[in-house]
């Protein structure tokens, strides 16, 4: 097996007396789609926020491509190739669709400030290249033709796709999706699954929190199940749904498989 791209070891987060994440270990391999599931309060979002640098961990270690990233600020983690989408869309409301995507490319822009002030040829060429790439990202997620539109006039589903294009513009090694299917129509969900497969096909690793099992199970190559901040299962989707610990966590008692399409 190849080396893990993102590796989480002994991750613990306490909020006062509450242990939100408790000694969590898992690996994400290059190009893999890894789902993270668990009942409400299992610590999924906390885990995500710690990985992305939004909140500090109490203990543990996280490495990205062999480099320790725990404790770095969010912008430094993004610069090392880890981008994310938000559970509630977080667009830059005063900007166009294309400019939103271009913010995602921020860490790849090299021209120093004085070159920007002077609008020298090198800086302008870099800007043109970034624009062309951002247009391609919009194309990839299916928002082609909306580049100049104000972001406030997008539908909710289009806003979700914009979040993905924005994260992709950073040419990340890993993308964290925080409940990407929440609030989408079944048609939009199908399109989203295709896009996520396409991202993984480009060699980008995908870490996915999702409540909707019907969406997640066919998509994820491997699933980590959390309950009360601990990992209770880690395996292929088929094995996870038959795991007694998982069934107990979801249904409160052993017996019977997780019903297909159950929202957990």
């Amino acid at each position: 097996m190849t080396d893990a791209l993102l590796s989480v070891r002994g991750l613990t987060k306490r909020f006062g007396g509450l242990v939100a994440v408790d000694g969590l270990d898992f690996d994400l391999f290059p190009g893999e789609i890894l789902g993270v599931i668990g009942p409400n309060g299992a610590g999924k979002t906390t885990t995500f926020n710690v990985i992305a640098g939004r909140i500090e961990a109490t203990a543990g270690a996280i490495s990205l491509a062999g480099e320790a990233i725990l404790g770095l600020p969010p912008h430094a983690i993004a610069a090392r190739g880890l981008m994310r989408t938000f559970q509630h869309n977080m667009p830059f409301a005063g900007m166009s669709v294309l400019d939103n995507v271009l913010v995602g490319a921020h860490t790849r822009m090299q021209a120093p400030l004085w070159q920007l002030i002077g609008a020298v040829a090198g800086a302008r060429a870099e800007e043109r290249k970034a624009r062309a790439e951002a247009e391609r990202m919009l194309d990839f997620v299916g928002l082609a033709g909306l580049a100049a539109t104000a972001v406030t006039s997008l539908s909710f589903g289009q806003g979700r796709l914009l979040e993905i294009a924005r994260a992709l513009a950073g040419q990340p090694r890993v993308i964290l999706f925080d409940e990407p299917a929440a609030g989408l129509t079944p048609v939009e969900m199908g399109r989203l699954a295709e896009i996520i497969r396409g991202i993984s096909g480009r060699g980008i690793s995908v870490l996915l929190i999702e409540h909707d099992m019907k969406f997640l199970l066919p998509l994820a190559e491997r699933v980590v199940v959390l309950n009360f901040g601990r990992k209770i299962a880690d395996g292929v989707p088929g094995a996870i749904t038959r795991d007694p610990a998982v069934i107990e966590a979801y249904l409160g008692e052993a017996g019977g498989a997780v019903p297909k399409g159950a929202r957990c």
């Binding site: 969010p74 912008h75 977080m90 900007m95 400019d99 913010v103 950073g170």
Partner: protein, 321 residues
Amino acid sequence: MSAPARSSATLLAWAAGAAALVAIAFMVDGYTADLYRKLLLITSLALAFNFLFGVAGQVAFSQVAFYGVGAYSITILWAVYHWPFPLALIATVVVCTLVALAVAIPTNRLEGFYLALATLAFAQFFVVLLLQGGSFTGGPDGLSGFKSPEIFGLKLAGRNYIFVLIALFLATLAVLRNLDNSYFGRACRAIRDNPEAAAAMGVNVARTRIIVFTLTSTLSALAGVCYAFADNYVNPNVFNLNDMFILFFMVIIGGSGRHAGAIIGATVLFLLPEVLGDVIGRRHLLIYGLFVVLAILFWPQGLVGVFDAMRARLLPRRAGG
């Protein structure tokens, strides 16, 4: 439009704008020349403030104070200590940058109301410093009667000085426009709209905030340097909070976040008391206040937004546009 065609069109627009500004310089005289000089100064200041407030979203009350830091620094170094002008100018820029950094670094985590309070405190502190500065600042009377600098034997006064102010205005506009059209400008707008998402996209929020505050404050200080030789007179009244509120009005009424908005807002509000002087006397602040309320209620994009809407209605839609 292809990239080379667009850049030559841009160049043409700049040349036409510069020619128009120079032409006005030859049409004004006496009182109108003084008005024109002040208009170029206040418009440069409004452009810098628009970038800080409208583009980067920092509600800062320190812009006029930095205008004063620039004006007083150059006056003290050049007119009181008789430093050679180039050296005095460089030292002024360094001093203003350091003062701006000293304000920006401790306040960079503050947002909205709290940043407003901190910068308000700095602005008030600066005015008190001017009033209590004794012979160093001239106290309430300020410093006056000093001579203008010369370059290559050319005295920078009268019409010559208008050309300096046109250069200041165009340079301020060029610097801010170029920045606005780059990743730096986008990062500033992203922080204004959603600092958390900006950080997740790799924008160093603290660093960007400090840079934009320091840069726009130093640009204001450069306008202040130019102000010092417009009247060869600096005094604390010019740099008080009254003018800071007018600067806010100019940017909001003109159209916050847009360079054209800052220029239109500054021009309209600066010339309004002159035009309406006979009707409203010196009660123009009352009219400004009314304008701000109207702008917030009916023209959230300011006068520039109103012009955009009119143009869209009057002009037939361009093919492919």
